[in-house]
Symmetry: D2
Subunit: 345 residues, 4 copies
């Protein structure tokens, strides 16, 4: 059994890690920390877990925690993880960090959009944990920068097409929509029920910090600079993320060509599902799961490709992919603990 600990277990991503790891057949969850709820049983903070998860939230004590864990998940706001990871890694533990701190290869890009990086040496060895793309690197990684939710939904359908040169990188627009849990568990007027219900709005228009993260990965995979237009929106639902991506086709590719390109690229990868025209991706279809559902249409008049991708922002967009990364690092079946049967509704 792999002994796992979670730092920051009482935010939504952290609690989702608890859900998945508590049901993982190869993992023993040995420690959950929470600054706010230290001393409280986890099942008191999330009563859904009462009687299911027996852990008590702890104050963070890295040495103590590392003595009881093999792998440490960090589900904290960016900036904090890079202060903690050096000690954790120094104690020989594997790390999956859900913040942005270890996602960037170009540390200058990180510093431009976030703040000064204080663990640059470690960052060099960190691997961007987009599992379907970087599996080989992840196998050998010690520190994983777990991808953002928006980047995951955008990168998976695009990368195979960019690598094959099927689309024009200068024309990529991603119109993304997220459920409210993506905004975290902190209270704010933005997440107040009455301000979300019957509301649909864009935010951080062409100014979201996931944009440089997306650009860096696409640029690396395309082999030339890519800078997409990215607009996130908030949808009145708890979970789910759907991205509609537009791009001009380089050639007269047919829908089946595009579909096959993506399907071939992800052949044998359990968590990518190609959806047929009559059943396009829907956040309800991936709710609570680690799937990324992908749909393809072409606006023939404009020779413009339309990609639809749906994930659960808390699972494939956060905790699920984090566990998938752990599975790969430990040579387990990629789907271990993640092969949860989806609810019909």
């Amino acid at each position: 059994m792999i002994r796992a600990g979670i730092i920051g277990a009482t935010g939504y991503a952290g609690a989702e890690l608890v859900r998945i790891l508590a049901g993982h057949p190869g993992v023993e969850l040995t420690a959950v920390t929470s600054r706010r709820y230290a001393g409280k049983p986890f099942g008191e903070v999330f009563p859904a877990m009462a009687g299911v998860v027996d852990l008590v939230c702890e104050e963070l004590d890295i040495a103590g925690l590392c003595g009881r864990t093999d792998v440490v998940f960090l589900a904290l706001p960016h900036k904090i993880p890079m202060a903690l990871v050096p000690e954790i890694a120094g104690l020989g533990k594997k790390v999956v960090d859900l913040s942005a701190d270890f996602r960037f290869s170009d540390i200058g890009l990180y510093e431009q959009h976030y703040q000064a990086h204080t663990a640059k040496e470690l960052n060099k060895d960190a691997v961007y944990g987009l599992c379907e793309i970087y599996r080989e690197k992840i196998r050998k990684a010690v520190i994983i920068g777990n991808p953002g939710c928006y980047p995951t939904s955008i990168l998976l359908p695009l990368i195979p097409l960019l690598k094959k040169g099927l689309i024009n990188p200068d024309t990529i627009i991603s119109d993304s929509k997220s459920g409210v849990s993506g905004a975290g568990r902190s209270v704010s007027l933005t997440t107040h029920f009455c301000e979300v219900n019957e509301s649909y709005r864009a935010y951080k228009i062409a100014a979201h910090r996931h944009n440089p993260e997306i650009n860096e990965v696409l640029t690396r995979e395309a082999g030339s600079p890519v800078h997409i237009t990215f607009v996130p929106h908030l949808v009145p639902m708890t979970r789910g993320m759907l991205t509609t991506t537009y791009a001009s086709l380089n050639k007269d590719a047919k829908e089946t060509d595009i579909r096959n390109c993506i399907a071939d690229y992800y052949a044998g990868r359990y968590f990518v599902r190609m959806r047929p025209d009559e059943n396009p991706p829907d956040t309800l279809h991936v709710r609570g799961t680690n799937f990324c559902d992908i749909g393809v249409r072409i606006d023939r008049h404009n020779n413009r490709l339309i990609l639809i991708s749906a994930i659960d922002n808390l699972v494939k967009g956060a905790a699920g992919q984090a566990v998938q990364n752990m599975n790969i690092m430990y040579g387990l079946d990629e789907a271990a603990g993640l092969d949860i049967v989806p609810c019909p509704v």
Copy 2:
């Protein structure tokens, strides 16, 4: 492996059976039928299941189905099951029927509220599958009448108190609230999104067919006639059921007495969770699970007890309890396949 079949697998209760049985470690799901979707892969009808459940919906052919199954679940409108169960039982299969057809001991009561019963002989041997109450009978049963969702939420907190004579049976009022999935997957104005959103309403006020079902069980357990007042309401959410039950206390019992009476009765039963005052039952806490959460308060001025019970109407209120019944019939751990870790939100 127990081979299970589901007749009527594409309604919400049927599809929830698919979800649970597909993830059950001791079960092989061998057949799913659907009149409407016969010939279609189940994962096309419920795209959430694409790549997870490989079965194709079949036309109902009882002999064929029974050749491939040990236990048959029926998730159909009442009246149809009693026409099918004789043949299924005649072929030596165990039956869990989710309709009302085999729930009543007093066939006259059934006939008064539903229609003429056409399988009275079989009904005699059928067991009312309220697992925490009738486990011993369920062990030996061949036909289970799986309880209604409202009855389950109402009976579990009340029975221990009635058996101990702690409350006055003439004063019981259950004010119940259900999510929309309880109304099934059939389309109707009542379940149209725009007519449900921002709507809260009562329906079948003191006239719901679950009322006689509740009365019969309470009467049996109390040992004297019980006829509660029951008012169901519809809540703008997909899943979940919460019942607030009111009853006059027979004695000057304290909250702890009531709480202990219920807790002792269900000691060791995984799926009943007593909730503390500061964390009363909430449908969100039981969503997707087989738990029944129970809370207790006393209005001391009126010496009136207030019981709160929450279940997921599709799980403990339907498919989950059905599988729990199967587990008991086969001597498995009661929680096999049902120990799904709940989502935090």
Copy 3:
């Protein structure tokens, strides 16, 4: 034109007052105050109002505000109004206070459930503004204690029946359900979208401060002590409140007797609508309106009455009734500014 000012205009009840008064044909809205948003245009705080309401939020300056107003509405947390009202009333202005500070006749009851009252002399002359019951007193009032939302929904159907002795006051139970806007605009985990969505729960069970308010009015109207059991619940919707009230019938009254008793009592009162059995009250039917819809059923077996009443918690339960009070005080048509045509959905 009556010149009106609102103190605390940027909470939900205050903003709803702005909505109604801005469309009132006999009112000029001359001042809105907000501690938090002072200096900001109201249309910036509530962008829905941009281009419609031109006022700028002010710091509270009672003398200044009273110089520009004839009537002052206070939409503030209790305790603050009783510190402000003496000065406002001293300047000869009429007052409608939406808090609990001037709702109680028995100041001891207020002090037991809230805190020491600091304006007892004024409280003596304040009138409880339940418009359909106390119209004559309201006509002559200078200070109105505007009723709570739960009390409004509970009192209106009950009072005619209690006055006629049709029900047993010792058996009254009100099971109430409120939309989330009732919890106000302050941020909290309780109103976080993800904690409300798919959630239904009771809170302050038999311990809500509206309970003594209800009891005092019922006791006064019944002429003997009444202490009801009251349990509020939170529903995942923005607006709306529905109460299901249970009480034993004193006589063998028929549904039509009960219905007629209530209908006769409110004959000619625009805002009370009796609903037929086939169309029971629904929060969606009163959304955005000042109506109180009432339905009646009898559980004949238990000779128990079931009353259903629906209001919009922000309108008839707060701002709408406040304006109705103003209309009565000024001798206007009771429905002036409140005869807004409801949306179909």
Copy 4:
């Protein structure tokens, strides 16, 4: 008083017409028809209107209806209106048709996307009722083809920019999102609460019949062929439509240039509101109103414009604009009956 009749008054657009016209100071609503509910009081079909709207739904009898009306609104599925309008117009009545039947100048385009047109002569004189663009023509019109909801949200922000040549017409992409009421009141699995809640999905991807309608108007206004990429999505909310439109800038225009171009074009037009960056358009801000809120951002790296526009699909996207058209036809204030103060939430 203008006497108005509504044919098809019990769908959502028709009922919304009732709401608006019943509150219109210059209109007497004299007839509402409904095939399904003929003979029923309108307030029984929509209980929200009980006591407010006194009309009884009628069977359609054109001659009878026209005898009591000056203007007739048709809120019916396309194909039916073109069979009725000739008789209505022949009786000298003004017509506002909410279907697609009289929206197209190029009848061939209509026939390609809908069916054979059976009232071509009348179509020649019909005016496309996009009020802010075609006011002068509307003044003199007898038959109005009331614009679709998606076209309204897309055309308003784009037309001023296209007329000024500020954007490249070949690059226009509109990613639109609609509340569920846009799908009408007919029951279907697509609008079942449980299939919509927690669901976000695209539909009719680059294949929606509003696409040719949009193209025709943009082509006319731009003076050269425009064919946009259009993808509609369904949002789990009742009302509201938000479109995010992307287009490459022709010049190095600044955000203020774009904003000013649109603002100047709509100067003095009440229903277009330019929103500042810190308060981008939100469906909640326009709920129940006839406003179209517009926001502007530029992705400077790609020199790509991002336009956000929000309307209420049932108001500015249907019934509200229809009444605005009537107002213009009769020389009333454009906002008569439509200057409803918006709800804060």
